[in-house]
Symmetry: C2
Subunit: 212 residues, 2 copies
């Protein structure tokens, strides 16, 4: 399989973690987002959304897009270790936290949206303030969504889930924008637990061949 | 079950369609988003994200958030008719289109984000232009993501899926913002097929008790 991504893309990072947890190795193809390589005609033919990640299967004809759809596919086709709990209610809770990040934080503060803000002559300070506020409010809501009596060390028990795949990259992004994380101890504890795992270590941006 | 929503919320609308397709009736509780009722302390205790929908289960203690997580839960607990295809690859394709709308269109142009733009003194014309462009670009990409040889009448064959649950409300939103839909015939054909189904009819905003 080939994963089209970019070392700093939080969406590609989620899929890198999933692949590493499942013990799957893939060829990595980098598209430099700040240089706009994801808008090249050849890439748009692969993914008309012009976004990373894309997972190309070994037949070179099947192309999967959208990080959460790719992670769910990986989980269905390579069930061990699972990214989602065994019962429907807990799956819904894990997916809700993943989606609270993947829908309500990341797309509202990604490169593309911040670039669009700049075209409206919004001052640079307000652009970074926009990202900082959306991340801070969104992560606070995520923490409040967590079960109250969960012993951890992960968000939903003794192993990471789809929620951590979204959380860890989003926390890194939060730091880049100077978000104060002091009031988010449960998220930080889960992140610390993730960082002890080789799969999370291998998927980190600074470990990717295209890291700057 | 109780569904906390708002007649015009596209996210609540997705869940209304899912419930209707599954033949489930629920009590509807409306929260007027333009009046900010979703930010009332009582509602934030239910959903700290301050967003609709929320599905409260009959035990009155279990609360599900995030429309796609709720729809997946409904599909797992009430499998007929299915909202997702039977095989993993087609499920990934359906989820990708649903997520392309639920992550990359809706949260970037919803009420909350447009209100935030206004706080940055962006002119009203640019605010509506922002929404129109994001919806137009996003829907064009969705159409391009569809399988080329699909006979329809729905996006992925003879029955609607999670993708239509996201598409139909998003197309209504597109019209509110004056998006030109003429180049999106496959999306419009799927919408027309949906509109013949009683479940989609019953879930429409103008059929809700809180419709204005």
């Amino acid at each position: 399989m080939r994963l089209h991504g970019y070392f700093r893309s939080t969406a590609a990072w989620r899929v890198r973690i999933a692949l590493a947890l499942k013990g799957l190795s893939v060829e990595h193809v980098s598209h430099h987002l700040r240089r706009g390589e994801q808008r090249a005609a050849e890439y748009l033919a692969l993914n008309p959304q012009g976004l990373v990640p894309v997972l190309e299967l070994d037949d070179r004809a099947t192309v999967l897009t959208q990080s959460l759809a790719i992670c769910e596919w990986l989980d269905e086709t390579h069930p061990t270790p699972p990214l989602l709990p065994g019962d429907a209610l807990n799956r819904a809770r894990v997916r809700a936290v993943a989606l609270a990040i993947a829908c309500d934080i990341h797309p509202v503060q990604n490169l593309k949206v911040l670039a669009r803000l700049r075209t409206l002559d919004v001052a640079e300070k307000a652009v970074t303030g926009w990202a900082r506020e959306i991340i801070a409010e969104g992560l606070a809501a995520c923490q409040a969504l967590l079960p109250q009596d969960e012993p951890g060390p992960f968000l939903f028990g003794p192993a990471p889930t789809l929620a951590e795949l979204c959380l860890v990259p989003q926390l890194a992004n939060a730091r880049r924008f100077g978000v104060d994380l002091v009031l988010l101890p449960r998220l930080l504890a889960a992140e610390a637990a993730c960082q002890t795992l080789p799969a999370f270590q291998a998927a980190a941006p600074d470990r990717q061949p295209d890291a700057e």
